[in-house]
Structure formats: structure tokens, C-alpha cells
């Protein structure tokens, strides 16, 4: 049995989330900044009357900040905690890798990344990191705590 993954890019890395968790993909939206919010929260989005929290995955995963003037895309996912929008660099294709290509995350990967990456999938010439969306929308745990 194969699973389909919706892929996107963040700082050159290829990430994937199970396609059934993705509600929709939106172009850049205007957002309301929330003072006092955790750093990874980039704001609130009006999604047809529903208020959705947007998490900047670059900040969440401790990746270098996005350069100014570069476009970003909202990947709206459904989690146990409601609908959350993930801010990513670029949207990719929907892939259907075979089960055999998946492997656990190597121990040497930085903890900040390992915390939210479920598995690694070996694609042709590239690795896809399978994102644990439930974890990704939880406040980040300080690195030392892991």
C-alpha cells in the first residue's frame, strides 16, 4: 500500500506531508500579526471566515530566515488542534513513493529537525523529509530539552 505525499520546499530541502491532511494550498495572504505569540507564528489568516494560525516552518525548524521579497506559500493542513497553515517556500508535486524507500531519521540530524520529521524517504537523487504535522504545530521544545 502506498501513500501519497504533498511536497514542498524549505531552504532547499524537500518536505512531504500525507496528502489527506492537506486541506488546500494558498498563495501569499495578508496576515494579522499576533504580538506576544511564539516566534514561529507569523500571524492569523482569514480563510473564508475561519481564523487560521500560520506557522512559518523556516522559523519552526530553525532554518535560516526567508530572504525578503521571496514569495511564500501557505499549505493549509488539518490537525487535531484545528486547521493550521504552514508557511513554506514553494509547493511541489504530489508523490507516491513505495513503502520500501522509507527510513527512520538518522541520529545525526539536528534535534530541532528530528523532533518534527517522522521519516526520510529516499527518492531518485533526493531525500524527502516526512513532516509530522501534529508535532510541527506544537510550540517548539528548546533544543537542550531533547
Amino acid at each position: 500500500m502506498t501513500r501519497q505525499f504533498c511536497t514542498f520546499r524549505l531552504d532547499g530541502h524537500l518536505f512531504g506531508v500525507p496528502v489527506e491532511t492537506v486541506q488546500e494550498v494558498l498563495r501569499h495572504q495578508s496576515m494579522t500579526v499576533v504580538p506576544l505569540a511564539p516566534v514561529e507564528v507569523s500571524g492569523l489568516l482569514n480563510l473564508r471566515g475561519q481564523i487560521v494560525v500560520t506557522v512559518d516552518l523556516r522559523v519552526r525548524l530553525d532554518l535560516p530566515p526567508r530572504e525578503a521579497d521571496t514569495a511564500s506559500v501557505n499549505v493549509v493542513v488539518r490537525t487535531h488542534d484545528g486547521t493550521v497553515s504552514l508557511l513554506v517556500d514553494q509547493i511541489g508535486d504530489v508523490l507516491e513513493p513505495t513503502q520500501a524507500d522509507f527510513e527512520p531519521v538518522p541520529e545525526t540530524v539536528p534535534a530541532s529537525l528530528r523532533e518534527v520529521v517522522e521519516q526520510v524517504c529516499k527518492l531518485d537523487g533526493e531525500l524527502m523529509l516526512v513532516l509530522d504535522t501534529e508535532r510541527a504545530v506544537q510550540p517548539s521544545v528548546p533544543v537542550g530539552a531533547l
Binding site: 505569540a37 492569523l44 471566515g49 484545528g82 493550521v84
Partner: protein, 792 residues
């Protein structure tokens, strides 16, 4: 089988409603055991349940209701007199029926519990009949026979079992009989004529069988039309509708805003209509969710009855404003807090009958529940005429529980002390009864009420009773809010906490913001209003000079001014929860979508005040214990004033009510005492210059006297000083007691030796005048309370 399920479902819903009514009726019946109308109503309800359960083959339910019905029918026929034992047994039967119905609802089957004991009790009660000697309750026995008789009547003419009085009224209304004739017939029934009222009237020749039949028909019609005009609707459906209406309101806001910028008269007209219709729809849908508070209250007399029987107290429940309506979700969330408050009043408030009699009160305590609408909010009051709460006891307990230091406790105002009952870990019960030790404390009550944007307050007069006042919003879904802005972003403040708006005049001349050790305050009508900067609270950059408005807000019983950049508009907003990532930021109560489609955050007034430290220690909850540690190191908020000879005198800020400038020519005299008329009272003046023997040039103060108005135990005193210097938060470490009367001693404050005024002492020295004033004020306050009790 589906059809069967439907019938069972209908039966369950109907029976549950009937049972609630039954609880109510039974308790009322105890007050008025002779009421045939009540007895008939109770009998009918049980009879209906019995009939249907027999039809649906719920044999246990049938047997329980059967014995209950037999007992009731004998009560109704006057063969038995209602005793408290009977009421208890009947209430127990109601509980059993409810449990059985619950089992049926969950499993579709009756439970396997054994109810023979209850049946035996109910049967035994029937046998105590004074007029009948039968000892066996076999189905062939006369007791059961009465019940079978009733069934037979019911099957032959269902409507005949409706209230006899009503039938009489109908006949009188038709002009078929006179009122006297009906009274006669009723009297005949009462002395043992067991025929129906219609029968008696026909037999006596007062009326014709046709007229009775006609009256019965119209009785039927009345009932049918009531059933036809209402339908049951699933609450989920209403919730969905409410959400949709919320969306519609938001969309309308957006369209109205867009249309206003366009020069299109047609569009404008359509928008106006949309505006109106959406408004009406919103109101209509909200109304469908409104329920009378009675749906919650109707269960309370039973609660009170059970509790008072258990505690050996006598309590009468009196209700006012039972039809006051509020949103179903709110009603559900106040249900438990209200029940708890009522239990608490019966348990701790109302005294045992002998204690009451000893104090010259009637043995029966009165618990008054009052509900009314006021300013878009619902007020619910729970008043008892019990022992009242002793603030001194509360203070002692707070100290012994380690909630605060003795000094902090002593500084609490009476009102703050009373509100200690809502502090976590606080129980005033001398001994823990099984009523009070139920795990739900008053702090939970307060938290639950605050969760829905409500407030709880307690007033108490020792020996006369306690009133707990709960204020809750009408609805939660759509609320009016004031939109303000800070740093270019918009925030919504719920209108309920808004008191007034002030514009700051930066150009000077007008009132302005002053600072006390860097803490901004504002003189609002002579009183210092602590200011909280929204920018600062939200960690935004402090754009100096941008702040132009102050929104005066109410948090708990404190006021504070929220400094904002700009004030936009008031708008109806739909409160939406924030996601999990933001839920922990308590300064936001939620978010909403504005007219232009952008998201705005809703501010939580209470949390803002707490963050800024505006809310006092007593309500500061968790911080209380820590604060107690620091206050015990003699930290005090002091108002520094200057005397004519340059000396400094400090007054405890807690005691300071207001700062006033009073024209010298308004000073009058009573005996040797200087007084002024102040807010409708006589305010005695104490010249601190004279008290402290400062002999500077006293008259150079000019025509205006600087008066510090202090309150002490309800009495007001005005201290006349030369000048008001500052408010300091001082550590009173250097302290000497060179007492020359009326002072606590002296300490070094802000580098100079400062004498501390003991307000209590000064008040005491004023003697009779002040005591008379205090009495007058107290009379005013208690006058309010006692008039409430007169109304009961």
C-alpha cells in the same frame, strides 16, 4: 423497529420534561398539601408515564409508577394526607423513574436494579390510610383497585382526567353553569363524592351532557394547539444556524463597508436591506437559543428541599424573574455554579431553626433567587436571610491558611475580604459537612462564571444575610466591541468592560498623564486612574506621543485606563477561538474578522489588568501568596503630603478615597468640628497641621484646601494638608515610634523623615460625629438589603 425507536425516543424526551415538572410540583405540594390542582397535575404525569411504559413493555417502570400512582390517587381523593415521608418517597420514585429512563436511553433496556424496596415503601405508605383497614396490597385489593379505576377512566375519556377546576372554569365561561354551582360541585367532591365534576353537574341538573362534552372538546383543542405551535429542534442544528448567522453578519459588515466607498445608489439600497435582514435574522436565531432561566431554576427547589431536610433546616425558596431569558450555552454553563451557590447558601448561610428563633428571625429561612436583564447583561442574585459572613473571620482564615500576611489581610477592604470566599483553598465551613466537601469550591464557581465573561460579587451583612450577585452576558457568540488601534493594528475590546473614553490633550492645558516613579496615572475627576499602555502590554514598540486616547475599563472591581493610539468604531463581532499555538496567551479572548476581511484580536480586559498588576492582591489569586511574602517586609503604598512647615506626612494609599480641592469658604462648623458638605454627606475635616503642631503660615494655602478624603469602615474623613507630594511604594524599614497621638510612627520615605497617619486612630478621635455618619451610610446600604427581604 425504527418506528418503535422513535416512539421510545419521544417517550423519553417527554418523560424527562415531565419529571422536571414533577420535582417542582412535589416540592410545591409540600407547601400547599391541599392543592388539588397540583395533585392532579402530578397524578396525570405519573399516569402518563405508567400508561406508556406499559404499552412499551417496560415492566419495571410500570410497576414503580403504578404504586406511586396508587398513592397519589388516594392523596388526590383525600383518603390520605400528605406527609413529608410521602413526599420523600414520591421524590425517590421520581429519581428511580429518571434512572430507569436513563437506562432505557443508554441501552434500550431497563436496568436490572431491584426496586422492590421503593415499591414496598410506597405501598406501605398507602396502607397507613386512616379510612381503610386493608392490610394486603394484592392487585385485587382496593388500593390497587383505585388505580385500575383511574386507568379505566383514562381509557374511556382521556380528557376527563384534566384538571377539574379547569373544566368548571370552561363551563362557567360557556355560561352553562354559574360559578357557585361549580364551587358546590367541587365541595361535594371534596367531601367524598368520587364522581367527576361534569357528572355531578349533569346529575344535579345544572347543565347538560352536551355542554360538558363541548367543554371537554375545547379543553382538548387548547392542548392540541399548544402542541402544534411548537416543534422540537436539535440543538446542534441551532448551533449550526448560529454559526452561519455569525458568518452572515461578518459578510454583511464587509459588504456594508465596501458599498459605502462606492457611488452606487442601487448597491447602497440593497446593502441597507441586507443590513436590516441580517440584523433581524441574527436576532431571530439568537431568540431560538434563548431559554428562560427557569429551566435551570426549576431543579433548585428540589435541591434545597433535599439539602434542608438533610441538614435539619427549614428553607423556603422564592423566585423572581423566572422567565428571564438567556442563551442556552450560557445557561448550561451557569447551571452548576448556580446550584453550588444555592447549596452553599443553604449549607453555610441559613442557620438551624433554633438558632434563627433565638435571633428573633422566623424559623424558616428564605432563599431568594432573582434574575433580571440590565444593560445587555443578565443579573442573577442569590440572597439568603441567614447569618451573613464575618469579614474578620475571613481575614483570620486567609492568614491561617497562609494565603496572605496578617498585614495584607488587615489592609483588605470589607468588600475585598468578603471576596476571599472565592479564593482557591478557602473554606469557611467550621466543620466540613458532606454538603460542603464536594470538591467544587467557590473558586471553581468564580472561574466558571468568569470563563463565560461573567462576574461574581458578594455582599453580606452580618446577622442579616448574604447576597451573591452573578452578572453574565446574554450571549457569547456575537458581542458588541470597541475597536481600537495600537501600532497600526486593530484590537477589539468587549463593550461590557468599557466604562468611558477619554481623549488625551497632548498640547497641554487640559488633563494629562502624570507619572509616579515612572508609572503613568491620570487624574480622572480627582481620582487617580492607573494607566496601562496597550503597546507596552503587547510588547510593541513604544511610539512616543502617539497615544491619544484612554479607554477606561473595568476589570473585576478595579478600573484602569488602557492607553491606545486611536479609537475606531464599535462593531458587532463574532468571537472565534484562537488555535492551540496561541491559546496560552491570555491577553487575547479570541479573534474576529473585521469588515474589511482582516483578522483582529480580541483583548481580554481581565488578563490585561492582571498583567499590568492593576487588579488587587485579593483577586490576583496565585500571585497572592508571593505578594504576601513581600508585603510582610513592610512595603507600603503611601500618599506623601506636605504640611505648612515643610514636614512630610504620609497616609496609607489604601485608605485614600479621593483627592479633592475644596474652596475654603465652603467649610462649615458643627460644634467645634470643621466640616464640608461632600457628595451629599457631611465630611469632617481634620487639619493635619493642627494635629502635628505645624505652625506655618496656615492661611497662605489660598482659597482652595487640599483635602485627602479617606475612608475607614464606611466613614469618610477629609485630611487637610498643605500640598500633595507624591505616591510612593516605600519600604518602611526605619521606624521609630515617637507617638504624639494619631500616628503609626515615622519612617524615612524618599530620603526625609515622614510621619505616618493612622487613619483608624484619627477617625476614632473624631468620635460621635463620625459614628453617626457611618451609621447613616450603613442604614442606606442595609436599607437596600432589608427592602429586598421585605419584598420576599
Amino acid at each position: 423497529m425504527d418506528e418503535m425507536d422513535e416512539i421510545v425516543q419521544e417517550f423519553l424526551v417527554e418523560s424527562h420534561e415531565n419529571l422536571d415538572q414533577l420535582d417542582h410540583d412535589l416540592v410545591e405540594l409540600e407547601q400547599d398539601p391541599a392543592s388539588r390542582a397540583l395533585l392532579s397535575s402530578i397524578f396525570r404525569t405519573i399516569h402518563t408515564i405508567k400508561g406508556t411504559s406499559g404499552f412499551l413493555a417496560f415492566s419495571q417502570l410500570e410497576s414503580v409508577t403504578h404504586v406511586g400512582e396508587s398513592l397519589l390517587s388516594r392523596l388526590r381523593d383525600g383518603a390520605l394526607q400528605l406527609t413529608p415521608d410521602m413526599t420523600s418517597a414520591l421524590l425517590a420514585m421520581v429519581d428511580t423513574v429518571r434512572a430507569l429512563l436513563g437506562d432505557i436511553e443508554r441501552t434500550g433496556q431497563e436496568g436490572s436494579d431491584d426496586h422492590s424496596e421503593l415499591i414496598a415503601v410506597l405501598t406501605a405508605l398507602q396502607e397507613t390510610a386512616p379510612t381503610l383497614q386493608e392490610t394486603d396490597a394484592e392487585p385485587s385489593g382496593p388500593a390497587a383497585g383505585t388505580a385500575t379505576g383511574a386507568t379505566a377512566e383514562e381509557t374511556t375519556a382521556a380528557a376527563v382526567t384534566t384538571s377539574d377546576r379547569l373544566l368548571g372554569e370552561l363551563l362557567v365561561g360557556q355560561g352553562a353553569v354559574s360559578e357557585d354551582e361549580v364551587t358546590l360541585a367541587l365541595a361535594a367532591q371534596e367531601v367524598g363524592d368520587d364522581r367527576r365534576i361534569g357528572e355531578i353537574l349533569v346529575n344535579v341538573g345544572d347543565t347538560t351532557p352536551e355542554a360538558v362534552a363541548q367543554a371537554l372538546d375545547s379543553q382538548h383543542e387548547g392542548r392540541r394547539s399548544a402542541a402544534d405551535s411548537t416543534i422540537r429542534v436539535d440543538v446542534d442544528l441551532l448551533d449550526t444556524l448560529m454559526n452561519l448567522v455569525g458568518e452572515l453578519v461578518l459578510t454583511r459588515n464587509q459588504i456594508v463597508q465596501r458599498a459605502a466607498t462606492r457611488q452606487d445608489p442601487d448597491l447602497l439600497r440593497t446593502t441597507h436591506r441586507l443590513n436590516l435582514i441580517a440584523g433581524e435574522l441574527q436576532e431571530g436565531v439568537m431568540r431560538t437559543r434563548m431559554q428562560a432561566i427557569d429551566t435551570v431554576w426549576s431543579k433548585l427547589p428540589r435541591v434545597v428541599r433535599d439539602l434542608s431536610v438533610q441538614l435539619g433546616k427549614q428553607v423556603r425558596v422564592h423566585m423572581e424573574g423566572r422567565d428571564t431569558e438567556l442563551d442556552k450555552t450560557i445557561l448550561e454553563s451557569v447551571k452548576d455554579p448556580l446550584t453550588h451557590l444555592v447549596r452553599n447558601s443553604v449549607d453555610h448561610g441559613i442557620e438551624a431553626p433554633d438558632v434563627r428563633r433565638a435571633q428573633g428571625k422566623p424559623a424558616e429561612g428564605t432563599l431568594t433567587l432573582r434574575a433580571f436583564h440590565e444593560g445587555g447583561q443578565v443579573n442573577i442574585e442569590i440572597c439568603d436571610d441567614g447569618a451573613g459572613i464575618d469579614p474578620a473571620k475571613l481575614r483570620d482564615r486567609a492568614v491561617s491558611r497562609g494565603l496572605m500576611s496578617a498585614e495584607a489581610a488587615a489592609r483588605l477592604t470589607e468588600r475585598e475580604a468578603l471576596n476571599l470566599i472565592f479564593a482557591p483553598g478557602f473554606s469557611t465551613a467550621e466543620k466540613v459537612t458532606n454538603v460542603s466537601g464536594r470538591g467544587v469550591g467557590m473558586d471553581v464557581v468564580k472561574t466558571n462564571i468568569e470563563k463565560i465573561g461573567g462576574l461574581v460579587d458578594v455582599h453580606s451583612v452580618l446577622g442579616a444575610g448574604t447576597t451573591i450577585r452573578v452578572k453574565i452576558p446574554l450571549t457569547l457568540a456575537i458581542i458588541p466591541a470597541l475597536v481600537v488601534s495600537a501600532d497600526g493594528r486593530r484590537y477589539a475590546i468587549p463593550q461590557v468592560s468599557l466604562l468611558e473614553l477619554l481623549r488625551l490633550d497632548a498640547a497641554g492645558g487640559g488633563p494629562r498623564v502624570e507619572t509616579i516613579h515612572g508609572t503613568p496615572v491620570y487624574r480622572l475627576r480627582g481620582q487617580l486612574l492607573p494607566l496601562v499602555s496597550l503597546r507596552q502590554q503587547l510588547g510593541l514598540d513604544d511610539g512616543a506621543g502617539d497615544a491619544t486616547y484612554i479607554a477606561v475599563l473595568q476589570a473585576d472591581d478595579r478600573q484602569f485606563g488602557l492607553v491606545v493610539d486611536d479609537i475606531r468604531d464599535t462593531e458587532e463581532i463574532v468571537v472565534k477561538p484562537l488555535g492551540g499555538l496561541l491559546r496560552h496567551i491570555d491577553v487575547y479572548a479570541g479573534a474576529t474578522i473585521m469588515g474589511d476581511g482582516e483578522v483582529a484580536l480580541i483583548l481580554d480586559t481581565m488578563a490585561l489588568a492582571q498583567h499590568a498588576g492593576v487588579v488587587s492582591e485579593a483577586s490576583g489569586r496565585q500571585e497572592t501568596a508571593e505578594a504576601a511574602q513581600t508585603t510582610s517586609a513592610e512595603r507600603a503604598h503611601l500618599l506623601l503630603t506636605g504640611l505648612s512647615d515643610g514636614r512630610q506626612v504620609a497616609l496609607p494609599l489604601d485608605a485614600v478615597d479621593r483627592l479633592e480641592e475644596i474652596p475654603a469658604d465652603r467649610v462649615e462648623r458643627i460644634g467645634g468640628q470643621e466640616v464640608v458638605q461632600y457628595r451629599g454627606r457631611v465630611l469632617p475635616l481634620v487639619r493635619l497641621d493642627a494635629v502635628y503642631g505645624a505652625h506655618g503660615e496656615e492661611s497662605t494655602g489660598g482659597d482652595l484646601l487640599q483635602v485627602v478624603v479617606c475612608g475607614h469602615e464606611g466613614a469618610l474623613v477629609g485630611f487637610v494638608v498643605r500640598s500633595i507630594l507624591d505616591i510612593v511604594d516605600a519600604e518602611l524599614d526605619v521606624r521609630s515610634v515617637l507617638d504624639s497621638g494619631g500616628r503609626l510612627g515615622s519612617a524615612v520615605v524618599s530620603g526625609s523623615v515622614t510621619e505616618l497617619v493612622d487613619v483608624a486612630h484619627a477617625v476614632g478621635a473624631l468620635g460621635d460625629l463620625l459614628r453617626a455618619q457611618a451609621r447613616a451610610v450603613q442604614d442606606q446600604q442595609t436599607g437596600h438589603l432589608s427592602s429586598e427581604h421585605v419584598a420576599v
